[in-house]
């Protein structure tokens, strides 16, 4: 029933705590991100609760779910921008928001004003030194190293061809790559990406997904990526958090993206179909966020 999509296909029961159980092998490194019974409230409404998740160094985790369910909010909780209503949350063994530049962040859907005449490379550079006071001094000792690091990371995301153009003139996909470079430039140990594949065409989606997968697995960066569609990242994934109205399940992609699990999560029949080329299609998932949340509000 479960065609192997990810190398990890342990037959463990999918449950809310599957994540912590799944890779509980002895000697496993301490999780870089840990959530225990986390819940969040915005505007007087509980978005999700009872979320358990462990992400270790070099693991690629996707956050999935319908619009408006609180995926971006989960990322903001990990950043410490939105406080958790309950539960325990640790990022790099600290409270959220305290790990500083060890966490890289790419917010959802940003685009620059077409008239903005600042080079892409300068925007990348802000990721490196934007939080430092003063102005960059022309003859400082670290300047050469910084320039090399920026060139390296721009090369890594394949943005060298347009990094010197004003960023407002770059296409959405080009801007996205530059912003990924900005998030990577300080060699973060945790990378939080909110729909980075948004505004990319299909070939670029798989290219950027492969890039992030490579960074994740080779440089041992813990990646948490919010995604709208799981398919472009499916074969890079180690772990999936699926958020639905109120609750969430986490585990390996096989465990979570499964008809039974999602049916239990949503409380309505949901079917996961697999096309012949290995793509997953979720059928019957309640997608309309407004109607859905209205039903549960109050």
């Amino acid at each position: 029933m479960n065609p192997v999509v990810a190398p990890t296909s342990q037959p463990s029961a999918p449950s809310a705590s599957a994540a912590s159980g799944a890779s509980g092998a002895s000697g496993a490194p301490a999780p870089v991100i840990g959530l225990r019974g986390a819940a969040v409230r915005v505007g007087g409404r509980t978005l999700w609760s009872g979320v358990d998740l462990d992400v270790r160094a070099g693991e690629f985790t996707a956050v999935l779910g319908p619009n408006g369910v609180g995926k971006s909010t989960l990322v903001k909780v990990l950043l410490g921008i939105v406080p958790a209503a309950s539960g325990e949350i640790r990022v790099l063994d600290r409270r959220p928001g305290e790990a500083g530049s060890r966490v890289g962040y790419l917010p959802q859907r940003r685009s620059f004003d077409p008239d903005l005449r600042i080079r892409g490379i300068d925007v990348v550079r802000l990721g490196l030194d934007g939080d430092r006071w003063g102005v960059p001094l022309p003859f400082s000792r670290t300047r050469r190293d910084e320039r090399e690091r920026i060139a390296e990371v721009v090369e890594l995301v394949g943005a060298s061809a347009y990094a010197h153009r004003p960023i407002g003139q770059c296409s959405g996909g080009e801007q996205q790559r530059l912003l990924i470079a900005q998030a990577l430039v300080r060699r973060p140990e945790v990378l939080l990406l909110d729909e980075p594949l948004d505004s990319l065409d299909l070939p670029n989606q798989s290219a950027v997904a492969a890039l992030i997968g490579r960074i994740c697995h080779q440089e041992r960066v813990a990646v948490v990526m919010v995604a709208h569609d799981v398919n472009p990242i499916l074969h890079h994934l180690d772990r999936v958090v699926y958020i639905a109205e109120g609750g969430a399940v986490s585990g390996t992609p096989d465990e979570v993206i499964d008809s039974d699990t999602l049916t239990r999560l949503y409380g309505t029949p949901v079917e996961v179909l697999r096309t012949r080329d290995g793509r997953l299609v979720v059928v019957g998932q309640p997608e309309a966020p407004a109607v859905h949340s209205d039903r549960h509000a109050g």
Partner: protein, 311 residues
């Protein structure tokens, strides 16, 4: 009280003083203007005022807050008039008015950024208030009120600064310039990339607020040089030109400051040479000419692609 009024009327007759200085000597009057202490004061104060205006203006343009500068120019007039009507130093009204309203705009707008509707509705009312204070001042019981004070605030009176006033202007402008340079990098981050900057621990809101205070102080400063009606030009024109000339942020910042200072010098020199040409007009003419000239340059897109091709 008398001293204050005297200083107000002294600045009111500022532009007249150039003319009189130029015409008093029978011949070689232009050289005499260059040697006059009022010209030296103007040059000194003008240089630093332009420096501060250029630096602040660059971020105003980048943050799309030029309109805020416009609102503050109205406030500058009203603040100065209110101070005169109340019997205080005109500059006190300038600074207090500009900074208070800058804070107000920041408080009303979200995330330390005032939005256009708020500014739009506020500034017309503020200007009306200014004309009320002007009337109050000119028709005040003392009878010493002078309508010229209104003109000097509207159009500037840089040739009317005495040594002490010039020194204060220099010190305040210098403080603004140092403050802008100190916050330049995080402010740039917060301007271009608010969410990431906030996640990185940059105090986005406080920076936006602090920046508006600096804008307020600069507006008060620049009003002394070019007047409240024209101060927007000193804030926006050099910065606008710099933004068009370079796509590197810190080069742009330096260029905006450099252009502003150069335009100030050119304007002061021009009005020293041509007595009929008031300094505010000359400075604005220089600023506008430079800004217009940047539009004559070929499109940068072709230049950037050359750079890419080379690299």
């Amino acid at each position: 009280m008398n001293a204050l009024l005297a200083s107000a009327s002294a600045s009111a007759s500022a532009s007249a003083s150039v003319a009189s200085a130029a015409t008093s000597g029978a011949s070689g009057m232009t050289t005499s203007v260059w040697a006059q202490p009022f010209f030296h004061h103007a040059l000194l104060a003008g240089t630093f005022i332009a420096l501060a205006a250029g630096l602040v203006g660059y971020f105003l343009v980048l943050r799309a807050q030029v309109f805020t500068g416009d609102a503050l120019s109205h406030v500058a007039f009203t603040g100065a008039m209110a101070a005169l009507a109340g019997g205080y130093d005109l500059r006190l009204g300038l600074f207090v008015g500009c900074v208070l309203v800058a804070l107000l705009l920041a408080g009303v707008g979200r995330r330390g950024k005032a939005d256009d509707v708020v500014i739009g509705s506020a500034f017309a009312w503020v200007l009306g208030l200014g004309s009320f204070f002007l009337t109050l001042y000119t028709t005040s019981a003392s009878g010493l009120g002078d309508g010229g004070a209104g003109t000097s605030v509207l159009f500037g009176s840089i040739f009317g600064l005495d040594g002490g006033q010039a020194l204060v202007a220099v010190l305040v402008a210098l403080a603004v310039a140092v403050a802008v340079l100190l916050i330049a990098r995080p402010l740039l981050f917060a301007t271009l990339d608010e969410n990431v900057a906030a996640a990185r621990g940059v105090p986005v809101k406080a920076l936006g607020l602090g920046f508006l205070v600096l804008v307020g102080v600069t507006a008060g400063e620049a009003t002394q040089a070019v007047g409240s009606l024209l101060l927007l030009g000193l804030l926006a024109a050099p910065a606008g030109a710099a933004v068009r000339l370079t796509d590197r942020p810190f080069h742009g910042l330096a260029l905006a400051a450099g252009l502003a200072v150069g335009e100030m010098w050119a304007g002061l020199a021009l009005s020293a040479w041509i007595p009929q040409c008031p300094p505010s007009f000359a400075v604005m003419a220089a600023a506008t000419a430079v800004y217009a000239a940047t539009w004559l340059r070929p499109r940068r897109a072709s230049r950037s692609s050359l750079v890419v091709a080379r690299g």
